[in-house]
Every structure is written in C-alpha cells, then in structure tokens.
C-alpha cells in the first residue's frame, strides 16, 4: 500500500528570478491499495509526473510523509533509499534503454547493480523475464534494432528484474501507436494479475485508464480534483477536467453535441448501463409498456477493463413519458434527464 500524507512539492527557481517558488504539487493525501492498477490522469504540467516520482523519490518532497507498506520512504537514508528502489520498478515514455547494451544486458543491469554476482543466476533470470514479455528470441539484439513496442517490453522486463512489488509507469504508452499501446497495456494487466504487483501509471489518455485501471485520480494544477473507481469516474465524471478527458476519449465535442440536440423534439435523457445490465433488453420493454417512441442520439458500448458498459443519449416522444422515466429509474441503470 502506498500512502501520501499531506505531501507537497515546490520547485525553487534558479538563475535570474532565484528564490521564486513554483508549486508542482499541492498538499495531497492519497492511498493506493496493494495489487491495484492505479491511474493518474492529467494534462502536462498538472503534477502527475511529480507525484509519480515522489513515490521512489526521484523527486524529493518539500514536505509530508510517504509510506509504502507502512515504511516511511521520506525518512530513508541514501543506502536505504537504494534498497527501497530495488523494490520499485519503473518504465518510461521513451524507454530509457541503454543503446550500448544488448537487450539481455539491459535486463541484467538492475541485477548487477543490486549486487548479483553469479552469471548463471543472472542469465536464468534474464531468460525468464524475456520469455515473460515475449522477447525470448531478441536477447542478443541492441535496442536500436527493436520497434517501440518491443523496446517498452524490454523496459518492462528490466523493471521486473529485481522482483519489485510496485511498478511505476511514466506515460509508458504515449510514444506508441494504438495497436502497440493495446498490447503493452494487456501485458501490464497480465503482470498485475500474475505477480500481484501494484501498478501506478500516469497518462493523458482516458482510454488507457479505461482499459487497465481499477482506480483513477484526476489531476489539475497540482491537485487531485477527483478520484474513485474507474467505472464511477468514467461514467459519471464530476469535475470539468474529468469531463473533458472522458469526452476526449469518446471523441465528441460537448458543444457540438448540445447544438445537435437543439433540433430534437421531446425529452432528452442519458442512460448508463454497467455490467450485467448492459445486455438487458430494457429499451424495447419500456417502449412497449409505456407507448413512448425513442430515438438514439448518441451512444457508446464498450468495456471498462473486463466489464461491459453502455451509455446512450435518447430522446423520448409520445406515450407516458413519466411512466417510462419511472421504469428506467427502477431498472439497474443510471438515468440522467438532460432536458
């Protein structure tokens, strides 16, 4: 478990305007349960990268305490910090592999740094890690000979080398194309499942959160403005920043949508299905029972991690609209009346 207690970070500006302080992270409380995939989403400069780097103290906090499994990370001395870092893997947007070393030697590096001497032990561990990320045949290659997705797999293998309990992902898929992103996310989910690893990832894409995360925190201007289970935050965003991210993921423009609806007659409502209810034949039943006619104005049916969800914007005309609304309210769906 990772806990933040009133952790904050301020950068001191050097040079001409020396002494001026720029807050990167407002005093923050945060709790990340073990075994979770926790997503941090925010625009660049929102403080998510700072927050991530505070966990393994690549950034030193200006104040507050960070506990990992009950241990106060902020109190560690240099030696303790190095040992702690061996229990926290990290992968990066630009992979940060050593171009001068082969794939196998890149994965072996953390083991060597941790003081593993036995060549046989290192070789066996490297082979096992490369097999796990599906790069068993590429051990002798240099990073320059690999594709972006393969490089990130090497990065993941390297991050797992010392058997960490936490994996930090710094925009790990932002430099990859959509297909490769999907396969890397799949690998992360699999690792999370099989190794019971806590994963903290930062991204600016809601889609990444939707696909792999259990919980999400939305950051804006150095603050966490909203957090919760992904389904709740994704389907019922409260903060304007969150709403923008969700709309971005759905590739719709809010203004555009509102304009469209101006010409639509009747009541407009939004139904959100999640889990089992996604497949229940609710619409037809309500239409038959109450005599309303409906048309679907916008909609999306997809999955949040493994769970299906659907979100439909409908207009209702004719029949007994109040009875229809009552039936929707009674059903296992979330109803919002937009107009």
């Amino acid at each position: 478990m990772i806990e933040f207690h009133q952790v904050h970070k301020t950068y001191r500006v050097a040079g001409k305007r020396a002494g001026r302080e720029i807050p990167a992270l407002q005093p923050t409380d945060l709790r990340i349960e073990s075994g979770q995939i926790f997503g941090l989403i925010g625009h660049s400069g929102a403080g998510k990268s700072t927050l991530l780097r505070l966990i393994n103290r690549l950034e030193e906090p200006s104040g507050g305490r960070i506990l990992v499994d009950g241990e106060d990370v902020t109190a560690l001395d240099a030696n303790g910090l190095r040992q702690f870092r061996q229990r926290v893997g990290m992968i990066f947007q630009h992979f940060n592999l050593l171009a001068s070393k082969t794939v196998a030697d890149n994965v072996a590096l953390p083991l060597k740094l941790a003081g593993v001497r036995s060549r046989a032990e290192i070789d066996a561990r490297v082979a096992e890690l490369l097999a796990r990320v599906g790069l068993g045949d590429h051990a002798k290659k240099y990073p320059a000979q690999l594709s972006g997705g393969q490089k990130q797999r090497v990065g993941i293998a390297r991050a797992l080398a010392t058997g960490p309990t936490i994996l930090l992902c710094d925009e790990a898929t932002s430099a990859l194309d959509p297909q490769t992103t999907a396969s890397v996310l799949q690998l992360l989910a699999q690792i999370n499942r099989e190794l019971r690893l806590t994963i903290v990832l930062i991204t600016h894409e809601m889609d990444v959160i939707r696909r792999v995360c259990d919980r999400v925190a939305v950051m804006d201007a150095g603050e966490i403005v909203e957090q919760g289970a992904v389904a709740d935050v994704f389907l019922h965003p409260q903060h304007p920043t969150t709403r923008r991210f969700v709309l971005e993921a759905e590739q719709v423009d809010e203004d555009e949508r509102r304009d469209d609806f101006a010409q639509v007659p009747g009541r407009i409502l939004r139904l959100t299905f999640h889990g089992e209810s996604t497949y229940a034949p609710l619409l037809g039943k309500v239409a038959r029972d109450t005599g309303v006619d409906y048309s679907i104005l916008a909609g999306r049916i997809d999955r949040i991690r493994e769970t299906p969800y659907g979100q439909l914007t409908l207009s209702l005309v004719g029949g007994d609209i109040d009875a229809a609304l009552a039936q929707f309210r009674a059903a296992d769906v979330h109803l919002e009346v937009l107009r």
């Binding site: 870092r85 061996q86 990066f92 940060n96 001068s100 320059a144 010392t162």
Partner: protein, 224 residues
C-alpha cells in the same frame, strides 16, 4: 631504387625511421597520459556542471577556469613555460621524455572538454532510469554513463590524437625530435624540399590511419 635515390638525394632514411619512431613514441605516451588524466577530469566537469549529479557551481567554475586558461595558451608558449616543470617531472626537457609532459598538459584540458560534451549527449533519461534501479553514483557513471558515451569518447580520443600529432611537430622546437623537428631543421632551414615532402607524407599517412581507426571504433560502439 635508382630513381628514388636521385629524387630524394638529401633523405637519410635511417634518420626518417628514427624520427617516425620518436613521433609515434611521443604520440603514444602523451595520448595514454592525456586519456588517463583527461577522462576523470571530463567526468568531474560533467558531474559538477549545472543541473548534473553533483551540481557544484564553485568547483565547476574553478575546473572550467583552469581548463580554459590552459586551452587559451598557444602550445608553443606552453612548451617553453613548462620547461622547469618538465625537468622536474621527466628529468629532462629534451627528447621524447621531455616532450611528453607539455604534450599531456596541452592536450588534457582539450580532451576533458570533449569528454564533458560526450557525456552531456547521453540522454538524461538514462541517468534517471539507473537512479530508479537503485544505482550508486559510482555505478551510474561506470555502468551507464561511460558505456553510453563510449562512441563520443572514442571520437574525442581520435580528435585528441590528431591534435597531438600536430603538437609533436611543434615540440621539435624544444629539441624533442620527431618528424616535425626533421621537417623544420632540414626541410625548412636547409631548403631540403625532399625531406619536407617525405615528412609531410608520413605525417599525412599517420593522421589518416588514426582517423580511420577512430572512425571504426566509433561505428563499432554506436550500435545503431
């Protein structure tokens, strides 16, 4: 052989051989010490630089000043200024042994700057990644920074070696011997154009060979 002998009438081939050997010895010896001293100095310059691992403004300013002063001194002046120090260090200011201290002092600051530049070329992300693995500063330098900067460091050694070739030619002035000395004493002062041509060709070949060895090493270690 007949035509060669008439063409290079003034050339004493034994002396040419001896001078070539002297040049190679001066080059080898001074390059060795330049790398031994310049590499740590370059690493220190890099580490103490702004926003680097040991960000230390006063130290960086001091090292920078020493390096800049030594670099701005023309080598021919340095040769002469260094004489008492050279005698102290090598026991003589003459010959190959007497040439090596000024050559090293002349080339080390230059080489150190090139090393600093080569290290700066290494992506900061590499340092961050090794820090995240729990590396000590020593491990970051030896296991990540230096291997990553290897192509740049070999390029720096090549440029330094070629600079040293031209420095050895000047060292002739203080009685160091070598091809440059031969060119000046016979080719220039005695108007023996054939000696000049032979020494120039030999120096040219030497520079070419050094450059192509250096280029190969750079390509080999680039892994691109």
């Amino acid at each position: 052989m007949e035509t060669l002998a008439t063409l290079f009438v003034n050339v004493d081939w034994y002396e040419i051989w001896q001078a070539t050997l002297d040049t190679l010895l001066m080059l080898g010896g001074s390059l060795l010490f330049t790398v031994l001293l310049g590499l740590p100095l370059g690493v220190l310059l890099f580490l103490s630089g702004p926003r680097q691992l040991f960000d230390n403004r006063p130290l960086y300013a001091l090292l920078s000043l020493v390096v800049n002063v030594l670099r701005s001194l023309p080598f021919i002046i340095l040769l002469i200024v260094m004489i008492p120090f050279t005698v102290l260090l090598a026991g003589t200011s003459l010959g190959v042994a007497g040439a090596i201290p000024p050559l090293v002092v002349g080339a080390t600051p230059f080489f150190a700057r090139l090393v600093e530049t080569a290290l700066r070329e290494v992506d900061r992300g590499i340092i961050e990644a090794t820090q995240a693995m729990g590396a000590t500063t020593r491990q970051i330098i030896l296991d990540a920074l230096l291997p990553e900067a290897r192509p740049g460091i070999f390029a720096a050694i090549t440029v330094t070696a070629i600079t040293l070739v031209s420095y050895t030619a000047m060292a002739g002035v203080v009685g160091a011997g070598g091809l440059g000395d031969l060119a000046i004493r016979f080719g220039y002062q005695r108007f023996q154009t054939d000696v000049m041509v032979v020494t120039v060709i030999l120096l040219l070949v030497l520079v070419q060979v050094l450059q192509s060895i250096g280029d190969r090493l750079v390509v080999h270690f680039s892994r691109k």
